[in-house]
Protein backbone atom coordinates (compact mmCIF):
# COMPACT_ATOMS: atom_id res chain seq x y z
CA UNK A 1 0.00 0.00 0.00
CA UNK A 2 1.40 3.40 -0.95
CA UNK A 3 1.50 6.28 1.49
CA UNK A 4 -1.11 8.17 -0.56
CA UNK A 5 -3.45 5.17 -0.54
CA UNK A 6 -3.02 4.80 3.20
CA UNK A 7 -3.76 8.48 3.79
CA UNK A 8 -6.86 8.41 1.59
CA UNK A 9 -8.13 5.19 3.16
CA UNK A 10 -7.39 6.52 6.64
CA UNK A 11 -9.11 9.82 5.87
CA UNK A 12 -12.24 8.01 4.72
CA UNK A 13 -12.19 5.82 7.82
CA UNK A 14 -11.73 8.97 9.93
CA UNK A 15 -15.17 10.07 8.78
CA UNK A 16 -16.83 6.70 9.43
CA UNK A 17 -17.84 7.33 13.07
CA UNK A 18 -19.53 10.59 12.03
CA UNK A 19 -21.13 9.15 8.92
CA UNK A 20 -22.74 6.37 10.94
CA UNK A 21 -24.97 8.94 12.57
CA UNK A 22 -24.97 11.41 9.72
CA UNK A 23 -27.44 12.03 6.95
CA UNK A 24 -27.95 8.35 6.43
CA UNK A 25 -29.21 7.84 9.92
CA UNK A 26 -32.31 9.98 9.85
CA UNK A 27 -35.68 8.35 9.89
CA UNK A 28 -37.38 11.34 8.38
CA UNK A 29 -36.82 14.99 7.63
CA UNK A 30 -33.42 16.51 7.01
CA UNK A 31 -33.44 16.03 3.29
CA UNK A 32 -37.21 16.34 2.92
CA UNK A 33 -38.81 19.30 1.23
CA UNK A 34 -39.42 22.40 3.34
CA UNK A 35 -42.55 22.19 5.47
CA UNK A 36 -43.20 18.60 4.44
CA UNK A 37 -42.69 17.27 7.94
CA UNK A 38 -44.86 18.32 10.88
CA UNK A 39 -44.42 15.20 12.93
CA UNK A 40 -43.70 15.81 16.62
CA UNK A 41 -40.30 14.58 17.77
CA UNK A 42 -40.95 14.93 21.46
CA UNK A 43 -44.64 14.16 21.79
CA UNK A 44 -45.68 17.79 21.69
CA UNK A 45 -47.66 20.16 19.52
CA UNK A 46 -45.91 21.25 16.31
CA UNK A 47 -46.82 24.68 14.97
CA UNK A 48 -45.38 26.69 12.13
CA UNK A 49 -44.39 30.30 12.66
CA UNK A 50 -43.07 32.08 9.57
CA UNK A 51 -40.43 29.74 8.17
CA UNK A 52 -39.81 27.88 11.40
CA UNK A 53 -41.43 25.15 13.46
CA UNK A 54 -41.99 25.21 17.18
CA UNK A 55 -42.72 21.99 19.01
CA UNK A 56 -44.28 22.82 22.36
CA UNK A 57 -44.26 20.12 24.99
CA UNK A 58 -46.06 20.38 28.33
CA UNK A 59 -43.87 18.46 30.72
CA UNK A 60 -45.14 18.54 34.30
CA UNK A 61 -44.66 21.98 35.73
CA UNK A 62 -42.80 23.36 32.76
CA UNK A 63 -43.07 23.76 29.03
CA UNK A 64 -40.34 22.93 26.57
CA UNK A 65 -40.04 24.58 23.18
CA UNK A 66 -38.02 22.94 20.42
CA UNK A 67 -37.21 25.26 17.54
CA UNK A 68 -36.46 23.94 14.07
CA UNK A 69 -36.20 25.49 10.63
CA UNK A 70 -38.30 24.73 7.55
CA UNK A 71 -36.49 21.40 7.12
CA UNK A 72 -36.85 20.52 10.82
CA UNK A 73 -33.18 21.12 11.48
CA UNK A 74 -32.64 22.34 15.01
CA UNK A 75 -32.13 26.03 15.60
CA UNK A 76 -30.72 27.58 18.75
CA UNK A 77 -32.68 30.73 19.65
CA UNK A 78 -31.24 33.39 21.90
CA UNK A 79 -34.22 33.43 24.24
CA UNK A 80 -37.89 34.06 24.52
CA UNK A 81 -40.87 34.40 26.77
CA UNK A 82 -44.32 33.03 27.23
CA UNK A 83 -47.44 34.56 28.74
CA UNK A 84 -49.86 32.02 30.17
CA UNK A 85 -53.57 32.76 30.09
CA UNK A 86 -52.95 36.46 29.43
CA UNK A 87 -51.48 36.82 32.90
CA UNK A 88 -48.38 35.02 34.08
CA UNK A 89 -45.22 35.77 32.11
CA UNK A 90 -42.25 33.43 32.21
CA UNK A 91 -38.88 33.58 30.52
CA UNK A 92 -37.99 30.87 28.06
CA UNK A 93 -34.38 29.95 28.72
CA UNK A 94 -32.07 27.74 26.70
CA UNK A 95 -31.41 24.48 28.46
CA UNK A 96 -29.10 22.18 26.58
CA UNK A 97 -31.12 21.73 23.42
CA UNK A 98 -34.47 23.45 23.91
CA UNK A 99 -36.15 26.43 25.55
CA UNK A 100 -37.72 25.81 28.93
CA UNK A 101 -40.10 27.80 31.14
CA UNK A 102 -41.76 26.97 34.41
CA UNK A 103 -45.53 27.02 34.21
CA UNK A 104 -48.37 27.82 36.55
CA UNK A 105 -51.19 25.28 36.35
CA UNK A 106 -53.80 24.76 35.09
CA UNK A 107 -53.27 26.38 31.73
CA UNK A 108 -55.47 27.20 28.80
CA UNK A 109 -53.40 29.35 26.47
CA UNK A 110 -49.81 30.37 25.97
CA UNK A 111 -48.53 33.32 23.98
CA UNK A 112 -45.04 32.33 22.94
CA UNK A 113 -42.32 34.64 21.68
CA UNK A 114 -39.02 33.15 20.60
CA UNK A 115 -36.11 35.41 19.66
CA UNK A 116 -33.82 34.09 16.97
CA UNK A 117 -30.23 34.99 16.41
CA UNK A 118 -30.43 37.80 13.87
CA UNK A 119 -33.28 39.66 15.51
CA UNK A 120 -36.42 38.03 14.19
CA UNK A 121 -39.11 36.96 16.64
CA UNK A 122 -41.42 34.00 16.30
CA UNK A 123 -44.73 34.76 18.02
CA UNK A 124 -47.74 32.50 18.29
CA UNK A 125 -50.70 31.83 20.58
CA UNK A 126 -51.45 28.18 21.12
CA UNK A 127 -53.23 25.97 23.64
CA UNK A 128 -50.77 25.79 26.49
CA UNK A 129 -51.02 22.16 27.40
CA UNK A 130 -50.86 19.04 25.35
Amino acid sequence: MTRATAVIAGAILFTLPFQMYGRGSSHHGGDAEPHADHEPRHGGLVVMVDDHHLEIVANGDRVEVYVTDALRRPVQPIGGSVVFDDAARAALTWSGYRLVANTPTPLAWGDYEVQLDGGSVLAIRVPAGK
Binding site: M1, V7, L13, F14, T15, G24, S26, D31, Y97
Partner: protein, 143 residues
Protein backbone atom coordinates in the same frame (compact mmCIF):
# COMPACT_ATOMS: atom_id res chain seq x y z
CA UNK B 1 16.61 -0.43 0.07
CA UNK B 2 13.78 0.57 2.38
CA UNK B 3 13.23 -1.28 5.62
CA UNK B 4 10.02 -3.21 6.31
CA UNK B 5 8.89 -0.57 8.80
CA UNK B 6 9.48 2.24 6.31
CA UNK B 7 7.04 0.55 3.96
CA UNK B 8 4.54 -0.09 6.72
CA UNK B 9 1.58 2.21 6.03
CA UNK B 10 -0.84 0.64 8.48
CA UNK B 11 -0.07 3.09 11.30
CA UNK B 12 -1.38 5.87 9.02
CA UNK B 13 -4.64 4.02 8.40
CA UNK B 14 -5.13 3.00 12.01
CA UNK B 15 -4.06 6.40 13.30
CA UNK B 16 -6.60 8.29 11.23
CA UNK B 17 -9.33 5.74 11.99
CA UNK B 18 -8.48 6.05 15.69
CA UNK B 19 -8.59 9.85 15.50
CA UNK B 20 -12.09 9.82 14.00
CA UNK B 21 -13.34 7.50 16.71
CA UNK B 22 -11.68 9.45 19.51
CA UNK B 23 -12.90 12.85 18.28
CA UNK B 24 -16.45 11.53 17.99
CA UNK B 25 -16.21 9.81 21.38
CA UNK B 26 -14.92 12.95 23.09
CA UNK B 27 -17.70 15.02 21.55
CA UNK B 28 -20.41 12.53 22.54
CA UNK B 29 -19.11 12.09 26.08
CA UNK B 30 -18.31 15.73 26.78
CA UNK B 31 -21.42 17.33 25.34
CA UNK B 32 -24.18 14.96 24.19
CA UNK B 33 -26.60 17.83 23.52
CA UNK B 34 -24.05 19.70 21.42
CA UNK B 35 -23.30 16.53 19.45
CA UNK B 36 -27.04 15.88 19.00
CA UNK B 37 -27.67 19.37 17.64
CA UNK B 38 -24.50 20.05 15.71
CA UNK B 39 -23.44 16.86 13.99
CA UNK B 40 -23.98 17.82 10.34
CA UNK B 41 -26.95 15.56 10.09
CA UNK B 42 -30.50 15.22 11.22
CA UNK B 43 -30.07 13.37 14.48
CA UNK B 44 -33.20 15.04 15.93
CA UNK B 45 -35.07 13.40 13.05
CA UNK B 46 -34.44 10.07 14.75
CA UNK B 47 -36.15 11.15 17.95
CA UNK B 48 -35.56 13.10 21.13
CA UNK B 49 -32.16 13.39 22.76
CA UNK B 50 -31.29 10.79 25.34
CA UNK B 51 -28.05 12.00 26.88
CA UNK B 52 -27.46 8.69 28.61
CA UNK B 53 -27.65 6.74 25.34
CA UNK B 54 -25.39 9.22 23.55
CA UNK B 55 -22.77 8.75 26.25
CA UNK B 56 -23.26 4.97 26.13
CA UNK B 57 -22.47 4.96 22.42
CA UNK B 58 -19.65 7.42 23.02
CA UNK B 59 -18.05 4.79 25.27
CA UNK B 60 -18.04 2.34 22.35
CA UNK B 61 -16.30 4.86 20.10
CA UNK B 62 -13.82 5.61 22.88
CA UNK B 63 -12.90 1.94 23.23
CA UNK B 64 -12.61 1.46 19.47
CA UNK B 65 -10.48 4.60 19.22
CA UNK B 66 -8.17 3.44 22.00
CA UNK B 67 -7.85 -0.03 20.47
CA UNK B 68 -7.01 1.43 17.06
CA UNK B 69 -4.54 3.88 18.63
CA UNK B 70 -2.88 0.98 20.45
CA UNK B 71 -2.62 -0.79 17.10
CA UNK B 72 -0.58 2.12 15.77
CA UNK B 73 2.16 1.31 18.28
CA UNK B 74 1.74 -2.41 18.92
CA UNK B 75 1.70 -4.44 15.76
CA UNK B 76 -0.04 -7.51 17.16
CA UNK B 77 -2.99 -5.35 18.24
CA UNK B 78 -3.65 -4.00 14.75
CA UNK B 79 -5.76 -6.83 13.45
CA UNK B 80 -7.94 -7.25 16.56
CA UNK B 81 -8.55 -3.48 16.61
CA UNK B 82 -9.50 -3.36 12.92
CA UNK B 83 -11.71 -6.43 13.33
CA UNK B 84 -13.58 -4.83 16.24
CA UNK B 85 -14.03 -1.46 14.53
CA UNK B 86 -15.12 -3.06 11.27
CA UNK B 87 -17.46 -5.48 13.02
CA UNK B 88 -19.20 -2.59 14.76
CA UNK B 89 -19.57 -0.73 11.48
CA UNK B 90 -20.76 -3.87 9.72
CA UNK B 91 -23.39 -4.66 12.35
CA UNK B 92 -24.56 -1.06 12.20
CA UNK B 93 -24.86 -1.36 8.41
CA UNK B 94 -26.94 -4.54 8.83
CA UNK B 95 -29.26 -2.65 11.17
CA UNK B 96 -29.74 -0.07 8.41
CA UNK B 97 -30.48 -2.78 5.85
CA UNK B 98 -32.98 -4.37 8.22
CA UNK B 99 -34.66 -1.07 9.12
CA UNK B 100 -34.83 -0.03 5.45
CA UNK B 101 -36.35 -3.40 4.52
CA UNK B 102 -39.01 -3.29 7.23
CA UNK B 103 -40.00 0.27 6.38
CA UNK B 104 -38.74 2.11 9.44
CA UNK B 105 -36.93 4.46 7.07
CA UNK B 106 -38.79 6.20 4.30
CA UNK B 107 -38.82 4.51 0.85
CA UNK B 108 -35.63 5.24 -1.03
CA UNK B 109 -33.69 5.94 2.14
CA UNK B 110 -31.22 3.18 1.30
CA UNK B 111 -29.82 5.43 -1.44
CA UNK B 112 -28.83 7.99 1.19
CA UNK B 113 -27.00 5.25 3.10
CA UNK B 114 -24.92 3.98 0.20
CA UNK B 115 -21.88 6.26 0.40
CA UNK B 116 -21.69 7.11 4.11
CA UNK B 117 -22.53 3.70 5.50
CA UNK B 118 -22.32 0.83 3.03
CA UNK B 119 -19.33 1.91 0.90
CA UNK B 120 -17.32 3.13 3.88
CA UNK B 121 -18.01 -0.07 5.78
CA UNK B 122 -16.98 -2.13 2.75
CA UNK B 123 -13.71 -0.15 2.63
CA UNK B 124 -13.12 -0.93 6.29
CA UNK B 125 -13.88 -4.60 5.66
CA UNK B 126 -11.55 -4.73 2.65
CA UNK B 127 -8.74 -3.12 4.64
CA UNK B 128 -9.26 -5.55 7.51
CA UNK B 129 -9.08 -8.54 5.17
CA UNK B 130 -5.98 -7.08 3.51
CA UNK B 131 -4.35 -6.56 6.90
CA UNK B 132 -5.22 -10.13 7.93
CA UNK B 133 -3.63 -11.48 4.76
CA UNK B 134 -0.48 -9.43 5.26
CA UNK B 135 -0.18 -10.42 8.91
CA UNK B 136 -0.53 -14.06 7.95
CA UNK B 137 2.26 -13.66 5.36
CA UNK B 138 4.50 -12.00 7.94
CA UNK B 139 3.80 -14.82 10.40
CA UNK B 140 4.63 -17.43 7.75
CA UNK B 141 7.86 -15.66 6.82
CA UNK B 142 8.99 -15.57 10.45
CA UNK B 143 8.41 -19.29 11.03
Amino acid sequence: MQSESANDRWPIVLGLFAAGNLVNATWMLASPAHWYLNLPANIPGTGPLNEHFVRDIGCIFLLLGLALAAGVFVRRLRLPAMVLATAYSLLHAFVHVYDSARGLFEPGHWRVDVAPIYVTTMLSLWLTLKLAREEREVDSAHR
